[in-house]
């Protein structure tokens, strides 16, 4: 059957997966709207707009899916072709680690290692410059915020900062 059709189904199609995520989100929004109660057209409830927005999301996502299946679309690999994909990955990993450590270790103990990582791993800055910047920038910002603007940054379990 598929031999007679011009449509070539490819699952390594980033457009298709984008559309599927949109569809999933749309269905979730519809369900949330229903749970919140739609109300009536004379007196719309809390879920009224959510429900109809969810329906629109599903329609737009469906049109993206249909277009991806009929017209095809770029693969995930081609989206990152000729790009240094490891660099954003390193930044994302560093930021995630920072997010987890911020509450526990506080702003100073988390942001100095973050700065060192970013300065050394994006496009390596020489150590003699990276270390002073990584220390002075967070410390300077902490001092300005704490002493001048009286804003307390998270100090963590060691209460540093």
């Amino acid at each position: 059957m598929s031999n007679n059709s011009n449509v070539k189904f490819r699952f390594n199609n980033s457009e298709l997966w984008g559309g599927l995520i949109g569809l999933g989100l749309g269905l979730f929004v519809i369900r949330s709207g229903l749970n919140l109660k739609l109300g009536t057209i004379n007196d719309p409830g809390s879920g009224y707009v959510l429900f109809y927005t969810g329906i629109l999301m599903c329609l737009f996502a469906a049109s993206i899916i249909i277009a991806s299946l009929t017209e095809g679309g770029p693969t995930f690999g081609s989206r990152w072709e000729n790009a240094r994909w490891t660099k954003p990955l390193i930044v994302i990993a560093s930021l995630t680690a920072f997010a987890f450590s911020l509450d526990t270790f506080g702003f100073l103990l988390s942001s100095i290692p973050l700065m060192v990582l970013l300065l050394r791993l994006i496009d390596p800055v020489r150590w003699s410059l990276a270390i002073p910047i990584a220390v002075i920038a967070p410390l300077g910002m902490w001092w300005i915020l704490k002493r001048l603007l009286l804003i307390q940054l998270p100090s963590g379990i060691f209460e540093i900062g």
């Binding site: 057209i41 240094r84 930044v91 911020l102 998270p154």
Partner: protein
């Protein structure tokens, strides 16, 4: 006569030393972010939104506005000297501006860009002074149905102008509305999509969303490639354009100003679309269109005037209707809301000092920008040499601190990082964040006005088509939604599609 008294009152406020300092900081940072490719006015404004809390509403909004129109000036410097647009509205300036610089005419290109911007900025302000109060008095008669339709039109226009698939842009706008509705329902006080998290009861903050989608995501995207810069190193002379240059540029500046101002007013329009439209218009009107792309001064003067006039025009819907026509104005709306102010038809009458103070400060800001961008051009050229491997980590640090300071809440830092990662993947998969942000801001207002109009009309949907303003807006929105199905209109849409929707 009233206008003159109000303008004088406005200057009295704008000339206060503290407001002059904020105005200078705003235009200076605006020029800075305009000059530096990779950081736009949206990132800078979201970064500085928490700072506005420390001063009076006038000071904060004066600074934020300064960043916006300042970036329009700064963006042209990078376009002309490096051939990389400093921000989206300066893309067109690269075409002829950099060619002029290569031919040893960087001075006149920078000069006409600054003078054109100044003339257009001044015109836009005068028009703003004249149009805004009259429109505000008309807007008082707007009902919830009109507001709903106007906001729906704004969202549709922005999705129409956004680069790539319109279905994707509309999906983004819907997600933005849903994100905007997180938190307590304003009518029933019922929590929505909070997943039991107390931090979500007040909803997601605008600052972490915007900083994540535009600040962090932008850095992530920029780290993928080594940024190479071809800076014109020759000494920049003759910043004051010659008589011939003025003769060639007068028409384009005048046309660009009028065109930019009106395109700036339209919901969803803005500086980017007006600069492209002005370039296309000048090329079409020129007797020698073949010069365009090879260093025609008209190709710099028109678009630069247009994007500055649009920046001024964009204040009209925000100040008079309370509806931000683009993402930058949505951030400015955020600054108003932080100070407990609601822009709209009553702003001019209830807070005349604020309105006229902002308008007067924009004129003073334009004068400051002329000084910053012409005699101090050497300083900006030096700044272009700042290495990105140092700049990007610093931007990330500032965004983290900026987000934390806006709410004193670590949760917002998590939200920003999450939106940074989401924003990066969105951009990689061809989903633009601008419709999401505008819908995020408009979402609660859109819902409120829809529910109010349905309650007031007792569920009669005809209320949206019997009111002339509402009917016109909805008809335009339908045309734009259905239009891309026609091949000719789809081609036009692809030509004018925006990069960032600002």
């Amino acid at each position: 006569m009233d206008t003159i008294i109000n303008v004088a009152h406005g200057f009295g406020i704008a000339l206060l030393p503290v407001n002059l300092v904020y105005c200078f900081i705003g235009v200076f940072i605006g020029t800075l972010v305009g000059v530096l490719p990779g950081i736009g006015p949206i990132s800078a404004m979201s970064l500085l939104l928490p700072v506005t809390l420390s001063g009076t509403p006038e000071s904060g909004i004066i600074m934020m506005a300064g960043i916006y129109y300042g970036s329009m000036y700064g963006g042209s410097t990078t376009s002309i000297l490096v051939n990389i647009p400093g921000e989206a509205a300066s893309v067109v300036t690269c075409i002829d501006g950099h060619q002029m610089a290569k031919q040893g005419r960087a001075g006149p290109a920078l000069g006409i860009s600054a003078f054109g911007s100044f003339i257009a900025g001044t015109f836009a302000l005068i028009a703003l002074m004249l149009v805004a109060p009259s429109l505000a008095s008309v807007a008082i008669a707007f009902g919830p149905a009109d507001y709903f339709s106007l906001m729906a039109l704004g969202l549709v226009v922005l999705t129409f102008l956004t680069q790539g698939s319109m279905a994707k842009a509309l999906l983004m706008a819907c997600i933005g509305i849903v994100l905007g509705l997180i938190g307590l329902d304003s009518i029933t006080a019922q929590p929505r999509l909070t997943f039991g998290r107390i931090e979500l009861i007040d909803g997601i903050g605008l600052v972490p969303v915007v900083m994540g989608l535009f600040g962090v995501a932008e850095v992530l995207l920029n780290t993928e490639h080594i940024i190479k810069r071809d800076i014109i190193n020759a000494k920049i002379t003759q910043l004051f354009p010659s008589k011939e240059d003025w003769k060639a540029s007068t028409g384009p500046v005048a046309r660009g100003t009028v065109l930019g101002f009106f395109l700036g007013i339209l919901p969803g329009g803005g500086a980017v679309i007006s600069s492209f439209a002005s370039y296309a218009l000048e090329k079409r009107l020129s007797k020698t269109p073949e010069r365009f792309g090879n260093g025609a001064i008209e190709g710099v003067a028109g678009p630069e005037a247009a994007n500055n006039a649009a920046a001024g025009g964009a204040f009209i819907p925000l100040m008079t209707l309370g509806i931000p026509p683009n993402v930058v104005m949505a951030l400015l709306l955020g600054a108003f809301v932080i100070h407990g102010l609601q822009p709209g038809p009553l702003l001019i009458t209830q807070n005349p000092g604020l309105f006229w103070g902002i308008v007067a400060s924009m004129y003073i800001g334009n004068l400051m920008l002329l000084v910053l961008n012409l005699p101090l051009i050497g300083m900006w050229v030096q700044l272009l040499k700042l290495p990105y491997n140092i700049l990007f980590p610093l931007i990330i640090l500032f965004t983290i601190i900026g987000v934390y300071c806006s709410s004193n809440n670590v949760f917002d830092v998590y939200v920003m990082i999450a939106f940074g990662v989401i924003g990066y993947f969105m951009r990689k998969l061809g989903y633009e964040p601008a419709p999401l942000v505008l819908a995020f801001v408009l979402g609660p207002m859109l819902e409120n006005n829809l529910r109010k109009s349905l309650i007031l009309s007792q569920g009669d949907l005809m209320t949206f088509v019997t009111r002339p303003i509402s009917a016109t807006c909805l008809a335009l929105a339908v045309v734009l939604l259905v239009g891309p199905l026609l091949p000719s209109l789809r081609k036009k849409r692809e030509l004018v599609a925006l990069d960032e929707g600002v």
